[in-house]
Every structure is written in structure tokens, then in C-alpha cells.
Symmetry: C2
Subunit: 431 residues, 2 copies
């Protein structure tokens, strides 16, 4: 893959069916739908390896088969649908994302990339277009990481960063094992999980941020993914009576947790760590009673940074703050567990250019931007030339929320760029 | 009741059986016992109206009947055991406390007062002592308030502060209704819940604080209970993606909760509110996922103060801080719910003096001190002359923790004072 690619590849804009794409997105969103009290909207809760996820998977498999794809399931439950090429032995072109969701999701996160790739296949079929290279759709397992604690799990194992054993032994909050749940829903496949490097990988996804909307573009070309760090922090104090225990004798795990949360925001506001984003999403105390000083508090810290150096400095700041907590409350014990850590991932310039040229062929203006969220693409980027296409979101690009929304036109634009890019890459000769 | 009482009452020290008292405490503690991971000790979890509580209640009723007491259960499930007096029509003397526990309890909180009063009855029986007034033991329902959210619930309804309907409609975290659970465990009695004012009420309890240990007394006479305020604070923000949502667009309910926790401690450290104690024991965020900004956070704030004026000022400070939170994060919504509020309660000087004189008769030095914790005695104080006897605790008086411990000698000393005080009060004529 080189920058000369766009001139080498033919201009070949693909027409897709926006209504069919939208109908598929809405139909999948009915699986796991719930009434969300916080927003008054209907949200989606289709967490990985739940019954809802299994129902969504079965629908996807049916649609893939109806589109003539050869469906295989790998040892992680990731679903592949292959459309054969004129030269079956050439490395294939892969397009994918995920259909698992967080607990309070919308209809687009992940699903647009998978159902969009399916729409591309359906359009190729309708137009009777044969491609030189095979095209494969991938729907990766547990991208969100909300149930088993490690995000991009399926793609990370497929690309060889994590082992199958590690993934199988992860447990959810109920103590259920990933491997057992995969077996239970009937999606533990026999396809070897390690992926043969495709010729290229392209993922279309909603931006989940406000940049495209602010800049006035429906579609963006993604230059890479920022560094991500997830840690679980457990603070061990001492349970004591709220009414009688003198303040100076307390070891209050809940207070320590609050100090961490406040400090993490101060790290962001300080500006010392570039474009750092920090989130504490999960906080609990135990025993969790009004009249008992907490003996235990648990929280998660999610740090994101487009720059690995700034990320390392931010992590060092947090570590130093945690180390200093026992000095404030003698007897306090601090425990940290690394849940996830990924470096900043740059995407392949050639694939970015192929996507940009395809948007140009379609008459769509685009901009380049970096991804704030983690995506399966950053895992596949370790083994194959990879890029992403972002679609503009409404409401400041809010996501992981039932208010998540991209218009039918914007979704269609992103998938047209995806299809044209796949078509372009599928005609490439080997370098 | 007047200060002249001690001179009016006869000196009549009661001898009790320390070993029998201790054996009863240890036997009751086996019900609801669990292995506590935080301390490595065996703790007690016998929350109100659970199966464990029911088993403890049945044991207590059996012991009361074996001691010849007439047992009645009121509409709140509170257990009464009556020992008849020589003049049955005179107002009775009541001694009581509770046997329900928090989730991480020891063997003494509440149980010492109930089983101690039982030991007094057993000793009176052994010595063949008849009293002028009837003596009644009371074991009040849901004193801890950890399951249904309102502490001193049984005694508050018995004394007429709260209604039976209010209590019955309280629900626990699982949505189970107090009235239904009372029915389920078979302790919804038919004795009218409103208590006829006794001649006097005396409660022996562990101090749950470090004062007696620091001052070197086994037993203390309690002058009153400090003011207590419980609130539940719910913060409504907006769920958003941790990696992509710009910090300035976030409405982070978890951050707001942390700011409240830190501020509450600053209120204590400021010294502006006298001997204020403040505890945030319960904190949760939802959806509680590492990669989602919390749209909701819930916390409890427990404030205690021996001075009503200082308490009012502290509550005003907290209210002003909560009102100011939306200014820090526009769109944040703050909701507060009053769980409990009791003013500072002074105990009856005459009953205090009767207890002090009884300790003197036993050759036990005592000091007077205020209670930091809430007790059933503060409710009964509204309808009858009341005081409490505190017993020294080990380990800085730690309580609501499996490390809670008072020595057999100290427990025996406290119950000897209780018994002698009951004997003294039971001989009193009507004023």
C-alpha cells in the first residue's frame, strides 16, 4: 500500500440503497430495546453474549446467508461472511465492526459498520459486480468490553494481541465466564481465531463526537485512534460507626475514591496532559450503608489521549496520587488492576487515501480526524493496512446513550464511501 | 422523677451471672454469622426481617418464656417480655434495645441491652426477688435502619413519632415491603403498637466510641443523644461516551457525587460546625460502565451533631453546596430525600441519677457522656423518663464491624448497673 494507490485504482463509485440500510439498522435495534428512564427514549441493551446478543447474531447470520455469503464463526464467536472473489487466492478485503452494545446504547454504534458492509454486499449483488479479491464482513465479539471488562476483545484475539485462554477466563459481574457464556449462546465456532492478514481492513463507524458536526462534514476519514488506558482501583479502608467514630480514627474508602475522582478531573482541567480525557464511570462502596464508613470502594478510571507521551505522563500523575492516599488516611490500602491499555494507533495512509479518493468520486467533501474511541480497527491495524470512515452524529455526537443519532442521509453517505473504497481496494494487485 | 430519687430509693445492688450473660451473647451471635473478608473475623449479618433475624427472634422468645416472662408481639414486630410486679397496675419499668444488625456487625450492638435485661430477669428469678412494679423487656424492630432506610423504626412507631402505615410501606433495595416481610417471617403481632408510657425506660448499650476507653471507665451514664440527619442525594447527569465527549460538554453525575463527598469532609475539618460528624456510606453510579460518563449517581449523607444549632448550620451549608452544583455543570439536576432527622435528645436527669447511684452501690466508678449513635432510647424518651448505660468498647470502640468487642467483665459491669437501676426504679412510688 502506498500513496500512489488512488491514482492506480479505478474510479468506481458504488450506489447503495439508503432505505434498505436504514431498515436493517432499525430492525436490529429492536433486539435488546428498552424504555430508558433517563431520556424517555427507547434505548438498546444488547451486551455481549447475552440472550439479546444471541438473537441479534442469529438475525445477522440469516441476513448474511440471504446475501449469498459463506458464514463462518471463529473460536471467539466473531461472525465472518465471505463473498468470493474472481481470484480466490488473493488476500481478501475485510470490512467490519461489532453488534454488541453498552447497557444504555443507541442503534448505530458498531451496527452501522456491520450492516453497512452487508448493504455494500447486497448492492454489489444487485449490480452484478464481481470483485477481483474476496470481500469479508466481520462482526467482532465483545467490542464494548462492558460485560467482561476488556474492550475490542474479539478483534484483539483475532489479531494476536490477547490469547484465547485469557478471553475465555474473563468473568462478568455475576461471575459468569466468557467461555461458558459463548458456549451457552451457541456461538463458539471452530474457525481458528488467529486471522490471516487481509489485504486491507476498512471500518465505517459513527464518530461518537462533535467534530464532523462542528466542521460541517457528513463523512470523515480517520487518521488513527488515541491511546486508551483502563484501570480498576480498589480502596480498602475500615468499616466503622458513622455516629461515634472520631473523624481522625476513620479509614474512609469512599472519601478516598471521591478524592481520586476529583483529582482525575483536575488532571484534565490542568491542561498539562494535552488533549487528555478522563472518566470515572463505575463507583461503588461497601457495605454501602448510610451509617457505616465504607471499608471498600471500587472505581474505574478511563484515560484517553491522542499522544502516547501525554498519556504516559497522565498515568504517572494518577499513580503518584494513588500512592499518596495512605499518607492522608493511614491504614488505607490501594489496589490497582489494569483492565486495558492501547497505544495511540496510526492508520494506514494508503487506505486513508483510498477512502478519501472514493469520497471524492462520490462528490462528498471530507475531512481527516482522529478517533477518540477505541475500535476493532485499531486491533486489525496490527496485522493489515487499515483505516476507518466516520459518520457525523447529532446532539454533539452523543453516544453510549439512547440519544445517539445519525441521519439516514449521513449513514448512506458513509456507507457509499465504504462500498466504493472496498470496491477500489478489491481490484488492487499485490504490491 | 427528681434529683432526690437516689436518696429516696433503697440501696439494693443486684448480683448477675456474667458467664450466663456472655454465653447468651455468643449463642445469639451464631445466628447470621459470616466470614468477613475485610477483617478475617467472623461477623454477624442479621438485618431486620430477614430469615436470620426471624431465627434470632425465635431464640429470644424461647429464652423469655423459659425465664417465665409473658411474651407479646406488637404490630411492628417488637417483642415484649413482661415480669409481673407486686402492684400490677402501677406503670411498668422498661429495659430494651434491639437484636437486628447491620450487614457487617459484631455480637454486642443492641444485643447487650436485650440479653442483658434478660440476664437481669434471670438473676431476679434466681434470687427470688419480687418487684413492686412490673419489669418489661423490649426488643425493638429495625433499629439499624439499614434494610428499610429509617432507623429506630420500631421504637419510633411505638412512641408515636412515625405511623404504622409509613413503616409498613417502606421498601428495601430489592423492592420488598416492610409490612410484607414482617408478615412473611411470622412476627406481625396483634399488640397495639402505641406504647403506654412506662414509669421509666433504661437501655444498656455498647458505647460504639472511644471515650470510655480513653477515660478509663468500664461503664458510663449517658446524658443524651446527638442530633442525626440522614439524606439521600441523587444526581442526574447525562450518559456519554468516555473517549469522545469533550469535557466541557459532559454532565458527569459521578464527578458531582465526588465533589459532595469531598465537601462534606471539608465541612467537618473546617471546625465551623462544632463536633460535627459526617459520613457518606453509600455511593453508586449508573450505568456504572468504565467507558460511559455516569448519567446518575446516588449517595447518602449521615450528619451527627451534639448541638442542634451546629447541626442546622451544617445542613444549610450542605444544601447550599448542592444548590451550587448545577452552576459547575449546567444541566445537572440534584434531588434530595430526607431519610431520617432527629433533634438532640437530652435524657432524664432522675433516671441518669438512678443509674449513677446504682453504679455507686456496686462500687463502679462512672462518667457521664453523650451518645454519638442513635438509639431506641431517644424515641422512648419522648413518652417516658429515660436514660442509657454505656459499656466500654475495645479497638477505639469500633462498631458496625466484626472487630466490635467489649470484654466479659465490662459487659457484666454494665448489666449489673442496669439490673440495680431497674430494681431501684421498680420500687419507686408514683410521684
Amino acid at each position: 500500500m502506498t500513496d500512489t494507490l488512488p491514482t492506480r485504482a479505478p474510479s468506481n463509485a458504488l450506489a447503495i440503497d439508503p432505505d434498505r440500510l436504514w431498515a436493517s439498522l432499525m430492525e436490529l435495534a429492536r433486539i435488546g430495546a428498552y424504555d430508558d428512564p433517563a431520556t424517555g427514549l427507547v434505548g438498546v441493551n444488547r451486551q455481549s453474549l447475552t440472550d439479546a446478543d444471541a438473537e441479534g447474531r442469529r438475525l445477522l447470520v440469516r441476513w448474511m446467508e440471504e446475501a449469498g455469503l459463506e458464514v463462518t464463526i471463529d473460536e471467539m464467536g466473531t461472525i465472518f461472511g465471505r463473498r468470493e472473489g474472481l481470484e480466490p487466492d488473493l488476500a481478501l478485503i475485510m470490512a467490519g465492526s461489532h453488534i454488541d452494545s453498552v447497557a444504555t446504547a443507541g442503534a448505530f454504534d458498531g451496527c452501522l459498520g456491520v450492516l453497512g458492509a452487508l448493504e455494500v454486499i447486497r448492492s454489489l449483488n444487485d449490480a452484478g459486480i464481481a470483485t477481483r479479491r474476496p470481500i469479508v464482513i466481520a462482526a467482532f465479539t465483545e467490542e464494548e468490553g462492558v460485560r467482561f471488562g476488556t474492550d475490542m476483545l474479539g478483534s484483539a484475539v483475532a489479531a494476536g494481541r490477547l490469547t484465547l485462554e485469557y478471553a475465555y477466563d474473563l468473568v462478568d459481574d455475576a461471575g459468569l465466564r466468557f467461555g461458558d457464556e459463548l458456549e451457552r449462546i451457541g456461538f463458539r465456532g471452530d474457525r481458528p481465531v488467529r486471522l490471516d492478514p487481509p489485504h486491507a481492513y476498512v471500518e465505517c463507524h459513527i464518530e461518537q463526537g462533535p467534530v464532523l458536526a462542528q466542521e460541517g462534514y457528513a463523512v470523515g476519514i480517520v487518521t488513527g485512534v488515541q491511546a486508551i488506558s483502563w484501570q480498576k482501583v480498589t480502596l480498602h479502608g475500615r468499616a466503622a460507626h458513622a455516629g461515634t467514630t472520631p473523624t481522625e480514627l476513620r479509614i474512609d474508602a469512599g472519601l478516598a475514591a471521591a478524592q481520586v475522582i476529583v483529582h482525575v478531573r483536575e488532571m484534565v482541567d490542568s491542561g498539562r496532559y494535552g488533549r487528555l480525557r478522563a472518566t470515572v464511570g463505575h463507583v461503588t462502596t461497601s457495605p454501602g450503608l448510610p451509617s457505616v464508613v465504607p471499608d471498600r470502594a471500587e472505581l474505574t478510571v478511563d484515560l484517553r489521549n491522542p499522544d502516547d507521551g501525554h498519556m504516559a505522563a497522565a498515568e504517572a500523575d494518577l499513580a503518584a496520587f494513588l500512592d499518596g492516599l495512605p499518607a492522608r488516611q493511614p491504614g488505607l490500602r490501594v489496589e490497582t488492576k489494569r483492565m486495558a491499555k492501547t497505544r495511540q494507533v496510526p492508520f494506514d495512509p494508503g487506505v486513508q487515501d483510498a477512502a478519501a479518493a472514493s469520497a471524492h468520486d462520490l462528490g462528498l467533501p471530507t475531512m481527516r480526524l482522529m478517533s477518540g474511541a477505541g475500535h476493532d480497527a485499531q486491533e486489525i491495524a496490527a496485522i493489515a493496512p487499515t483505516a476507518m470512515i466516520f459518520v457525523r452524529g447529532q446532539h454533539d455526537g452523543i453516544s453510549h446513550n439512547p440519544r445517539e443519532y445519525s441521519t439516514p442521509d449521513d449513514c448512506a453517505a458513509g456507507i457509499a464511501v465504504l462500498g466504493t473504497t472496498l470496491l477500489r481496494l478489491a481490484e488492487e494487485a499485490d504490491a
